[in-house]
Symmetry: C2
Subunit: 353 residues, 2 copies
């Protein structure tokens, strides 16, 4: 009996994330255990497993969105509608590899950006020093490729090339991001390009790897990648909004965190390039050198909103999400997988609503 | 007609290095060209191909010892005695991967150690900043795995696991090295262990990868790895001696460079743990905080020699080289390959003689 598509409902996003977390941890813990002890110690602290002395703690491990995308896409590619689909299990090394790459980049980005807080805890460099955090990032990046190589999966080699391309995009995106901070003439298009590399590339890679490990063909993999890429850009915009208007209780970062160091995030650049009076006033604030007081920060955020930065960001995120869902349809995945991926995409891109 | 072993002579080391450099460059240049432009720019400067503005220069590219080991071992494993052995060509991606990993580690180590000079030129971080150097290191590490994955070689997956293990050793070795600088009780055994991870592991990996890409069996690969590992440790000792007594014209680093920041290199630790009066006096110098003057540096070097640090280092390097050559014999490579590998090992470990 064929079930009509509209009748099929997937698991809600929080249930998918919990399911994915279990599969991920089962792949991650043994992999991290193979690290040299010094690196394992720093990695375990960063993942929220242990405190700085190596004692177990219950810290926020993050949602692990990227691994969930890998595993869902693997199921989707496999066309398995059963709850016990084996495709997700086979794709667990790919999910771990993507999560390891994500955390490598967090470790290095925190050193580069001098961010002191991550997931409500002091960042690794602020506890162990720059050297330890740089080396631990190197170790996680290496472990990501190692996990793929040792997976024994027929798609391991192609997966490594896919992952490598995403990491290279990531380095360029982060480099541009840092360079933009010292420039007064950043355009919206190049800022979107930067965000696509910094965030879109790895989410696209997560979806492509899931497809590859689930046995999808080249055209299907490409639509999966584009779903992740578009969704990733929408996710970055949502993250940028949280960097300005997010609740510190939710984000684990100080209020107005991105404005404190005059970060040229997408809502800010949209405001700066808006041609409005508020945009020009914002440009003056950004051109100054002095630290911004609490009142300054409130006023700066208001300028971004007046200049249309908030409205542009929301509209842009909606548009990107629609594009992502279009690629999901073109990928021709099962109705259940589509429902779950859509739910995850909506949660990830509008997580403050 | 069988040629008696004693009659077979290989190419001299400088000729092997030139041959290897050509094969390496043919693999490296197209690989580096696939990097995002910002990363390619920094990498090209670091490799000595371009100046900081991207204009071609003729800078010292380094000897590229590690790729030469990969290529020679691939030939040795292949059992090919002809000059036009195809094994070396097939192993070129492995040679490039090892050289990329070596240079990733140089980029990060220079940031960590705040070294301002590398191969007679300002280090990448001192020209482009820490962020750029960290990210360019990340990009080269990623490219190493990418080059292996795209090689299409049947040993690519096993090669990636082998390379990954060496990089993890490297991160731990570098972490220990930095930690040792802040400790007053570093023992000789743990210092040797650190050097084995920091230097031996990647030279061992180079030899093992050459073997794998040349089609060697597991036992042969293991002897090849041990040849590289022992030789790498001898090489590190030779490098440590250069860090104290090396001619700046040859090393490209300031005279007494390792003593300036009171580095606990192997000759120093051998002297510190010698139980001699000179060793105790050296410990006092190392415990002080004040910068060392030119006269201090001369006196410190003399103390290391009086305490037996120089003699121990030379004897240790000889012993390690003998062990390395023993593993080369056990690996059962052709007489010509053995002659060339021995010549390379002697040059690398006694390059100041």
């Amino acid at each position: 009996m064929t079930v009509p598509e509209a009748m099929i409902e997937g698991r809600p996003a929080h249930e998918v994330l919990a399911w994915s977390r279990d599969l991920l941890d089962a792949a991650m813990r043994p992999a991290v255990d193979t690290l040299p002890s010094s690196m394992r110690h720093i990695a375990g602290y960063h993942f929220g497993w242990w405190d700085e002395k190596g004692q177990p703690v219950e810290a926020d491990p993050g949602k692990a969105l990227r691994p969930a995308l890998v595993l869902l896409m693997a199921e989707a590619a496999h066309g398995a509608a059963s709850m016990a689909a084996p495709a997700a299990g086979m794709a667990a090394p790919a999910a771990a590899a993507v999560e390891l790459v994500h955390n490598f980049s967090l470790l290095h980005d925190d050193v580069i950006d001098r961010d002191e807080t991550r997931r409500h805890r002091p960042t690794a460099w602020s506890v162990f020093g720059d050297t330890a955090a740089i080396l631990a990032g190197d170790a996680l990046l290496t472990l990501a490729f190692d996990v793929l190589a040792r997976s024994g999966h027929p798609a391991a080699v192609q997966g490594a090339a896919t992952l490598g391309a995403a990491v290279l995009d990531l380095t360029e995106g982060q480099h541009s991001d840092v360079c933009f901070e010292g420039r007064g003439d950043v355009g919206l298009a190049e800022c979107l390009g930067m965000a696509e590399k910094k965030t879109g590339a790895l989410l696209g890679c997560a979806c492509a790897l899931g497809g590859l490990f689930g046995g999808a063909g080249p055209e299907q993999v490409e639509h999966m990648r584009l779903f992740g890429d578009r969704m990733g850009l929408a996710f970055q915009i949502a993250d940028d909004l949280l960097g300005i208007w997010g609740d510190p209780e939710v984000t684990g970062k100080p209020v107005f965190s991105d404005l404190r160091n005059r970060k040229k995030s997408l809502p800010v650049v949209a405001a700066l390039t808006s041609g409005t009076d508020a945009g020009r006033e914002l440009a003056e604030v950004y051109a100054e050198d002095r630290p911004l007081s609490g009142d300054d920060l409130v006023r700066t955020a208001a300028l971004i909103e007046s200049a249309g930065g908030l409205a542009w960001s929301r509209a842009q995120a909606d548009d990107l999400l629609a594009q992502a869902l279009g690629h999901l349809r073109s990928a021709g995945v099962t109705a259940r997988a589509a429902a779950e991926l859509s739910a995850l995409a909506r949660m990830a891109t509008r997580r403050d609503h």
